[in-house]
Amino acid sequence: MDRLHKAIPLALAAALLAACGNNASQDKKQKAETKPVAAKTEPVDVAVLGIAKPLTDKPGDPVNGRKLATSKKKGNCLACHDLPDVHFAGNAGPSLIESMQNNDRSVGWIRQKIVDPKVDNPDTVMFTFHSNEGKKMIRPDKVGTRVLDAQEVEDVIAYLLTLREKK
């Protein structure tokens, strides 16, 4: 599963970091994060990019993204992934702090992972957060809903991108 991110050129990582506003101070970071997160300068490599185009026109909100990522009713990322300032994150998946700081995956790839991680790894332990394609036996009260709707996916991505900044 690490094959992909190693293939991404370092230049792309630099471009992404720049696009996300890699500022040193916390205050500036918060402001910068409200910018749109999709970098138009990404090289055209579908396998690496995943879903390059944001799902909505509205830029992702990292503050709401964190709420979604840490809410048991919503993203619940911390059930499997370590995140900053949380208690008892699970370890079924890699730490998102390390992943976001140490890899150079594209935003599109991250988006793909959240929308439908099976595209990247058919046997993944990760839940399918946005796509409902092919889902079976959905609990009746959840039929017709998505675990994360389009805007929520963008918000979570915006939050994750804030983790790229080393502390």
Partner: protein
């Protein structure tokens, strides 16, 4: 009322109490309770939790099961057919879920108890997962404590085990996840505070072999650090007393709760779906000693 066996029950209760530290030679039936030292699934919990397992809150609940077994139901009790305290049933539960010729499919102990009650004794069926059913099921299972689980996997059972495996491997629910993802691929890790058990019989002995099979990647490192996927069985130690639930519960409750948690359709207790799943889980625990009721957080 003449078949009431209060004297036998009393003996049993005293015998069980004595069992806590002293084996009573006078007992007709050598009923063993849960033995924490024989539970290969406890290693992953804190020393303090393992200490509790030596004297778990479920201690003494087998006595309730025994009382229900011997309880007079319009002149008969389970003991009428199955012997004093169920001595003729020793070993029987190691085969459950078991194929039923008449039904043409496997059944649980719970189904068997209900058919005894309704077809032979003219009684009402017990309500699913209510105290009486859980206690009786636990008692009948515990009659085989110390004996290896041996669920039939060939013959007419093969098809149903295969169906159970299919259910185990299939992504379901809003979260789009299968049993195997959390309990095999991610076994040994934590989903938040919940430790993902590997419900098979690989046991400590095969630890190195299990770990060696994992691909060399960070996933493997993580699982090595977490204690890896040491199969600690499943059906062999169910029903369990779970501190989170505060009572005894059967595998049927566990399966339904998992389904609900991944936002999947929850089927009825004892439905074919869960019976097949339980049969499959049992089949991969075959060979492990029954140790009922288990104890988990």
């Amino acid at each position: 009322m003449k078949t009431r066996r209060s004297n036998v029950l009393l003996q049993g209760v005293l015998g069980l109490a004595a069992l806590a530290f002293v084996a009573s030679p006078a007992m007709a039936l050598d009923l063993k309770g849960y033995d924490a030292n024989k539970d290969p699934g406890l290693y992953k919990y804190s020393e303090n939790f393992r200490g509790m397992a030596e004297f778990p809150p479920s201690d003494g609940m087998l006595e309730d099961g025994k009382a229900l077994f011997n309880k007079d139901r319009s002149g008969q009790s389970c003991a009428t057919c199955h012997g004093e305290d169920g001595e003729k049933l020793v070993g029987a539960s190691t085969h459950y879920p078991k194929y039923d010729e008449k039904l043409g499919k496997p059944k649980l102990i719970q189904h068997q108890i209900n058919s005894c009650l309704t077809e032979r004794m003219g009684q009402e069926a017990l309500k699913w997962e209510k105290g009486e059913q859980v206690m009786l099921t636990t008692y009948v299972k515990a009659l085989s404590n110390g004996m290896p689980l041996s669920i039939q996997t060939d013959g007419p059972m093969a098809k149903f085990i295969e169906l159970g495996k299919k259910a185990y491997d299939e992504r379901i629910g809003h979260f789009d996840i299968a049993c195997k993802h959390c309990h095999n691929t991610a076994a040994g890790t934590n989903i938040r505070a919940e430790y993902m058990s590997a419900p098979d019989n690989t046991g400590y002995a095969n630890l190195e072999a299990v770990v060696a099979k994992l691909p060399a990647n960070p996933e493997r490192e993580r699982r090595l650090a977490a204690g890896a996927a040491i199969g600690s069985g499943s059906v062999d130690h169910w029903p369990i007393y779970r501190t989170k639930w505060g009572k005894l519960a059967t595998m049927q409750r566990r399966l339904r709760t998992c389904n609900k948690n991944v936002r999947a359709v929850v089927h009825d207790y004892g439905s074919d779906y869960y019976v097949n799943l339980e049969a499959y889980l049992g089949s991969i625990s075959n060979g492990m000693e029954m140790n009922v009721p288990g104890f988990r957080p």
